[in-house]
Amino acid sequence: MSTIIRLEHLKKDYAVGKDAITALNDINLEIEAGEVFGIIGASGAGKSTLVRCLNFLEKPTEGHVYFEDRDLAKLNTKELNVARQSISMIFQQFNLLMQRSVLRNVMFPMEIARVPKEERKKRAMELLELVGLSDKAKVYPAQLSGGQKQRVAIARALANNPKVLLCDEATSALDPTTTREVLELLKNINQKLGITIVIITHEMMVIESICNRVAIIADSRIAEIGPVKEIFARPSTEAGRKLVYPDGDRNIHFGSRRCIRIVFDGRSSFEPVIANMILDCKVPVNIIYANTKNINGTATGEMVLQLSDDEKDYEKVFAYLKARNLTVEEVRNYV
């Protein structure tokens, strides 16, 4: 796979009065052509700023944004406008033109790109077909539901055959069912049309259901980056853990006895590992905490077991789990 978007030492400061606040700091990132890349982080982490730098809606204070190896900062206005036709964007608030019918909304980017009129209309109808809204062509956006509006926005974003589709909280204004439908549509678009998708969200569910790789952004920086399965199975930073186990009730006190944490990364969680372990090792365990999730069809998650203080028991269990390729670690101050 080739890199389609590359960020180098990206920094963005906003002037607030006389001060400058840093919304992004030293962001380095490569997005591969054809992947679905997720960016997740808490509110105010800098996600929107980051995605807006990708099409230069926001000019970075420092650093570079390369789109297909071209430095966006080196393009003049005209060239940038042409490049933007290859980097589409959809928004949380849909941002449709309220005075234009659905069909003419989808035709809008093609007008900008000076596509001939008959072709515009033909392609717009095809796109409405793709998003399942052919019957709404003549309707105005005010008459559509949120999910329908986002579908129109997606159709519009695809009009000029973009290579990348940026989604800034595209499903955050939608209910869970509609969110799932829209994500399904995006997945389809990625698979059928090969369009690279960058998804900004603060919802784990979004990342889990369609992203290949994810970057966790916290305090203006990338805290963790990697394949979704790995990051979600083994969040290695505080920011990551907070996101992956938001309700990871760590407030229970377990006394003086020792605990272990087992991480399931999708290879063996369907087997009754724990049950077999107990039968094999003949040790009593106490399940303190368990949280497994279905990520892209395989189950991942973590489990915390409480063991007796017997050193032999502990070693037996440890060896058994290690032999099954599970990540096991001792948790001492599980508070």
């Binding site: 033109l97 005075q99 980017p109 940026l166």
Partner: protein, 220 residues
Amino acid sequence: MFDKIIINMIVEGFWDSIYMTLVSTVFAYLIGLPLGIILVVTDKDGVKPMVWLNRGLGVIINILRSVPFLILLITIIPFTRWVTGTSIGTTATIVPLVVAAAPFIARVVESSLKEVDKGVIEAAQSMGTSTFQLIYKVLLPESLPSLVVGAALAVTTILSYSALAGFTGGGGLGDIAIRYGYNRYQTDIMLVTVALLVVIVQVLQEAGMKLAKVCDKRRR
């Protein structure tokens, strides 16, 4: 009640008023609309910020708007004469009307265009629209209902200004009202002309609101 001469005079005054108002509105929009667009586009939060141009224009507009119309009417008489060759009559009145209304319209247009959702503008920019395309494909069409309401406001304001032009022999219903009602105490004539002015304002305002409603697609 009135003899034929007076009736003819009132009818003529009516058409003079309509003529002055509409022609002035058209010319005032030819100047005010672009100015309003420039105000919005060059604003510091606009799509092409140009702070000095924006401020300079703002100051000029504010100055023109704060001069009372009657003073403006009189002070620009030399300019009016230079443009139309005369300083009295309906055509001569159009000049001060345009000068007074254009800055007002610029502000009305400005406030309409500023109602356009920032997100929509941003979406258009993300598609690679040039500033020019953004103006005529996004800003103007998206604010059309508001622009129409603004136009109704502008046209009625111009009509009332035109009535003031009666003081310098500008013609139209206002002129008649002043000459007969104010100078000669013929209250009946004055009442009729004022009533006509009220009717015109009412009709223009209603028409504007109807039109705005028809072109507003934001309704469910």
